[in-house]
Symmetry: C3
Subunit: 367 residues, 3 copies
């Protein structure tokens, strides 16, 4: 059934019964038990047909002002959901769960599965080019103009997007989706239930060259990159990222890693399980990032460094030495109006000299 | 007519009469009225057959040294154009206008339209795959191996580049051009007269996950991204950018926004009209950028922040708090030779302690 | 012969004789002359069938601990290779050369050519679309769904990847390889023996606009980009980079330039020969970078600046003024634990004031 029809149906019947959601995903329904949900929305945007969530007491003011007919809330905040002024006919509804944010995430997945399905190719598009030596499961899906080369394997439930390119001997695990224009390089592997968004290139050559004296300077002689990329299960990679193949061994992303867009992962990097990186991060070659880490947008990690598990790097910070203790680390020049910045930046260039002058003063005035 | 022939013709007839350009685009022609223009060029590169421009008095020295046969100039600078030494046969020409830079921009567009046309597909290439449920205007152009899915609409004069991918129910406004390999995600919309350069991905999933306790740390459970991207009229987006779809509502680029290459726009961001961003900028989720702003290359804006209208962020600066007053803001560590930087950076890590030592001294020496 | 068969053969015969490698690439073989090499590996990972290298005395401890059967070493370190404890049957082997790293690079290339060939298309794939007005050498290779437009030339030995797009009148030199989804824009040229990795866009429009007063602010009127991109010989460009076409003249990468992934090169930039840039670097328009320079990952160079030859910029540093003296330059905020950073960053915003207070103290306590 085409998707527009599904939406029309859902809308014409007045939305999904909230009780159906609660039954499917767990928790207690308090207040108006007959409420129906027509859309998911943030507290500020929702009307009485909307389902929203409140994850932290600091959002109490937004909750008070919200017209969301139903709100996912913790036991502590549920009374405030129900006691908002000026209730709609039938009253407010609270969906009480221990972790409202996690439940809201589950609702979005239920919604995607049942109400607002993602458009997707089913089966193999006739324009795709699949080498006879590739093995594509009968339950896999391949979009228009996709290319799958000899020796590649695509498992059941996998989706290969339009113009995507699975190179020789690469492996796509079950249920994994490669977006439009994704390149999965030869010999590279991705596990089960992964998502790779459009334009990402996995398995390009790492940046490896040997300097050789040349014309008063040096040229760079190529080091062939003989490794590959191995990606675990449940990994999501954003759009237009680059995950380079290893020089000798492999570049590795462990299970559950989540990468945002435009991220660069150099050759032979290893990223530990369930580590997440925001957009525009760059990890130089041979760095080892621990498990359960987070890197803010635009952060840079230099090559051959190590980050322990549970290390958190603030946005735009540059990691220049290994960090072996868990914690939050930052290195950001504070933004200021340009005039103030100019003065402070100019002074910063004399900072060491200022310290020396301070030492002189300390000696001179020593009591 | 193939383009080489056009160029040859223009060249053989000795270029375009300057008077024709002035008549088409406005302004006064002073000096040699018979001058012809064979090429557009910077002051330093132009010869007597070249047309150049001078936009500011600070370029007077370059103007004096320039051999450009014709120069677009303000009334104030026009005399200097004409009085340069050693004029070519017929003399120098000045094209006098109130805003030479804007007129030069108009000349480049005239040149593109009449002398040096951009190669482009006309009509629908036979290799393109267009779903029967898509609506492609008879006056639209579709390149080889492009894919247009069910429910998509492509308006008159639009150009869909080679390998571009217009997903289900997406909309391409009249006269808008999607470059090679561009992805316009399902339900996303771009207005009239837009340009999107090669490899840009519009409508990949935003980076949204809920943390769930797992194995001594936490895993990240996906939040389906149920919104889309809405782009106004006259928007230009560079190559290999990423504009993510919203989580619940939409990500929005208003009319006249200009983005350079490799820019990341997170989910639910709103960028105000006529704001421009240079290459490698990253805007994290739910940030709201005002109208008429500029962001220098590599600048980062953290999530959920607000920038007022007319805010200008210097290159590589990190916006960590909302900026509600117009102005120029910066936060850049000043570059220095490595030895000086090392000393100053080391001292910076003791800066707060230095301030405390200074306070002690101030108390000790208080008059 | 398919590649799996080649590997199987190499493995079944017990690897490549080390003597064969030495004969092919030069140097002296000391120790076990009969050793065979099954794989190339880092010192830490290699077993007795592995060939490794040691490039610097600082790796002596790793060398001592390594089980690599054969090691490429300088004359000074060769004795340590041979005298390691607990040798395998037949003993250790040292391959003695003046520059072990350069020899190791040559070994990787030999290995790629003879043992582990890169999978590649041979000839022209039947699904490619080549305009009758293009000239593709009979010895060139074109992958599936590639597009080559009118007036383009592709020289002998060149490889055009799957879905790559060579636009009108573009030129691909002999032996140059364009990866999957690469766009080589109209009129752009790349010389001999180049490599461009997947998703890179060469010849998108530079970011050029003239500001025009509009609605209380200004809009941006397009400056058509009438130049192109010229790339020399032996240039390697990583994945998902952007090299913009010039506004009037051309953007130029000279011979031997090496660019990593996700790099932005603005319009009219000129990069001197054998300069190398790590991932995520951004070079703004009209900058001139000298020869033999290096730029660390994430570095930014502002527009219209000049870098002399042999200038080295540290990772994530921002070049805000021309640098005319060779040397190493840095500008990085030192990372610290978040609490320390917050204190120091806050103090930094008062740095100029602190300097003034220090001056007061100096005057007050002057002897």
């Amino acid at each position: 059934m085409p998707m527009d029809a599904v939406e029309a149906t859902a809308s014409s019947r007045g939305g999904v019964p909230l009780a159906e959601l609660v039954q499917a995903l767990g928790g207690q329904l308090e207040g108006c038990a007959a409420r129906r949900v027509q859309r998911l929305a943030a507290l500020a945007d929702a009307d009485e047909h909307g389902l929203s969530f409140v994850a932290h007491p600091r959002y109490q003011a937004q909750l008070q002002a919200s017209r969301a007919g139903a709100v996912i809330a913790s036991p502590a905040l549920a009374p405030q959901v129900l006691q908002r002024p000026d209730p709609p006919p039938g009253g407010w509804a609270a969906w009480v769960v221990p972790d409202p944010y996690a439940t809201f995430a589950a609702v979005t997945r239920w919604w995607r599965a049942h109400v607002q399905p993602r458009p997707a190719w089913r089966g193999v598009h006739p324009s795709a080019w699949i080498d006879p030596g590739a093995r594509v499961d009968a339950e896999a899906h391949v979009g228009p103009f996709a290319v799958i080369e000899a020796g590649a394997t695509v498992e059941a439930g996998a989706e290969i997007g339009a113009h995507a390119h699975v190179q020789a001997r690469a492996h796509v695990g079950p249920g994994t989706r490669l977006g439009a224009h994704v390149v999965l390089g030869y010999d590279c592997r991705i596990g089960a239930r992964g998502i790779v968004h459009g334009g990402t290139v996995i398995g390009a050559d790492g940046f490896g060259f040997a300097p050789v004296p040349h014309e008063g300077g040096r040229r760079w002689d190529k080091i062939e990159q003989l490794g590959a990329v191995r990606i675990g299960d449940d990994v999501e990679i954003g759009a237009n990222c680059c995950i380079d193949r290893g020089a000798l061994g492999d570049t590795v992303l462990e299970d559950g890693v989540k990468l945002d867009n435009l991220i660069q992962i150099g050759h032979n990097v290893r990223v530990g399980r369930h580590t997440a990186m925001a957009g525009c991060v760059g990890i130089a070659g041979s760095a080892r990032i621990g498990a359960f880490c987070t890197l803010g947008g635009g952060a840079i990690v230099l090559g051959h460094l190590e980050l322990a598990d549970h290390v958190h790097i603030s946005a735009a910070s540059v990691v220049m030495r290994s960090i072996l203790q868990p914690g939050q680390y930052s290195g950001i020049f504070p933004i200021d109006d340009n005039r103030a910045w100019e003065k402070n930046a100019a002074t910063l260039r004399q900072l060491h000299a200022l310290r020396e002058r301070l030492k002189v003063l300390e000696r001179r005035t020593a009591p």
